[in-house]
């Protein structure tokens, strides 16, 4: 009986993990979609590597998410039975507008949400800057967990998560997700928080 219940649970979660399909709403520049190392035509699927060139931009929409990938960004969307959609942000910046379980993962950090709009940028060293437009984003790194409310952001490096706060650079984030709303691109000058440095 126990094994039957266990098998049922496994089957339930197995079937609940659905592959997402990402169609292009807007594209600027030669965006590449790679599946098993080979370039494929859109729409992108869960597991694909999506590369936006420098100066490019793409807006993708799936059933539960609208993702705006800024120039020089590389991501892989994945599905996880517990965490829902997991976007591996290898480098670059992404604005996410989502419903349902969703997480952006950088090298050191996970940014988890349930229905919100937020921005994450990561550099190749794994440092990440995040700002929340709507809802609450939970930031996890090792054993640290911080909830970031709307209007605030955090900086995360290999050492720690900063205290959620208003950052001046977040005023320049372009939250528009469709070309009908206007210009989608942005020019951000993100700065490290010097107050999180300690030399004594």
């Amino acid at each position: 009986m126990k094994s039957f219940i266990g098998l049922s649970i496994i089957l339930f979660f197995s079937f609940s993990v659905e592959a997402e399909t990402y169609r292009i709403l807007f594209q600027k520049g030669a965006v590449k979609f790679l599946r098993a190392g080979k370039i494929v035509s859109p729409p992108a699927m869960t597991g694909d590597l999506i590369k936006v060139p420098e100066g490019g931009l793409v807006v993708l929409r799936s059933q539960h998410q609208t993702l705006k990938l800024m120039g020089d960004t590389v991501i892989t969307p994945l599905e996880d039975p517990q965490e829902g959609t997991v976007i591996e942000l290898i480098r670059g910046a992404i604005v996410s507008q989502v419903t349902g379980k969703y997480k952006v993962k950088t090298r050191f950090t996970g940014f988890g949400v349930r229905g919100t709009q937020f921005f994450v940028q990561s550099n190749p060293e794994g440092d990440a800057w995040m700002c929340v437009q709507e809802g609450v984003v939970n930031v996890r790194k090792d054993d640290q967990s911080v909830d970031v409310p709307a209007g605030k952001g955090v900086f995360v490096d290999s050492l720690s998560i900063s205290t959620p706060q208003f950052y001046a650079w977040t005023k320049d984030i372009n939250w528009k997700m469709t070309s009908e709303e206007g210009e989608l691109d942005q020019k951000l000058h993100i700065e490290y928080d010097l107050l999180e440095n300690f030399y004594d």
């Binding site: 290999s158 993100i190 440095n197 300690f198 004594d200």
Partner: protein, 244 residues
């Protein structure tokens, strides 16, 4: 003739008296400072050691350990325990083997409890300013000292992160419950730190330091003399900081 001898007695009198007071000194000092800082939630644990060769051939060694608590992003309080060897006090000018001299201080420990209040804030995107106030209570001497240190840091950033920094600080030592003067010592620092990795930074520091030694009451009553002598020195050192 009598008048001549009388005048000789008046003007040569000080030459006959034995000088029992110390002399002012100046020179070069060199050393190394290491700090390790561990962040845990609002706590910032600090372990620090300073080691330098000082003028008069003495050496100074310091160890400090404790933690800050970040009340806000800009304001933090700290509580530390400190042990020092080679700390020179007025009372170290003593008579030994019939001669007034500085006592050997290299191997003597002075322990203190340190309370810290630090406020730091940004001045634009590349600058930080800071004011650090520390109270040192020296247990064996029951002496309370305030050290106040304003400072300014300029950061050279790469990809938004600190790569180099140049800092300048001024530190004044104020005796609270001892001594007769309001300032016993000051340091003026100019240094640089290079961020070798996100966790490790090191660089040179150069300082100018002046300290004063004063006659204490038992010295004055024994010798009927007094003094206020200045030790001035230029310090050249290396400073390293490890964060994790």
């Amino acid at each position: 003739m009598i008048k001549f001898f009388f005048l000789m007695l008046i003007f040569s009198g000080p030459l006959w008296a034995v000088r029992k007071t110390p002399r002012s000194q100046s020179g070069l000092e060199a050393g190394v400072e290491l700090r390790a800082l561990k962040r845990f939630k609002r706590y910032l644990f600090l372990a620090e050691t300073k080691n330098r060769e000082e003028i008069l051939g003495s050496s100074y060694h310091q160890m400090l350990i404790g933690s800050y608590y970040r009340v806000t992003k800009r304001l933090r309080f700290g509580l530390f325990l400190q042990g020092e060897q080679g700390l020179r006090w007025d009372q170290d000018w003593r008579k030994k083997d019939g001669t007034w001299q500085w006592q050997k201080i290299d191997n003597r420990w002075d322990f203190s409890t340190v309370g810290d209040v630090t406020f730091v804030d940004k001045l634009g995107s590349h600058w930080l300013w800071e004011i650090k106030n520390r109270f040192y209570y020296y247990h064996s001497r029951q002496s309370l000292q305030l050290r106040t240190r304003p400072g300014l840091r300029y950061f050279i950033l790469k990809d938004g992160k600190p790569l180099w920094q140049i800092y300048s600080e001024f530190e004044a030592y104020v005796p609270v419950n001892y001594g007769t003067r309001s300032l016993y010592e000051y340091w003026a620092y100019l240094g640089s730190l290079y961020q070798v990795t996100p966790r490790f930074a090191f660089g040179p520091v150069i300082s100018y330091r002046e300290r004063w030694f004063h006659a204490y009451s038992s010295f004055e009553s024994k010798t009927q003399q007094t003094f206020r002598e200045k030790f001035s020195s230029t310090y050249v050192g290396l400073s390293a900081v490890y964060n994790w």
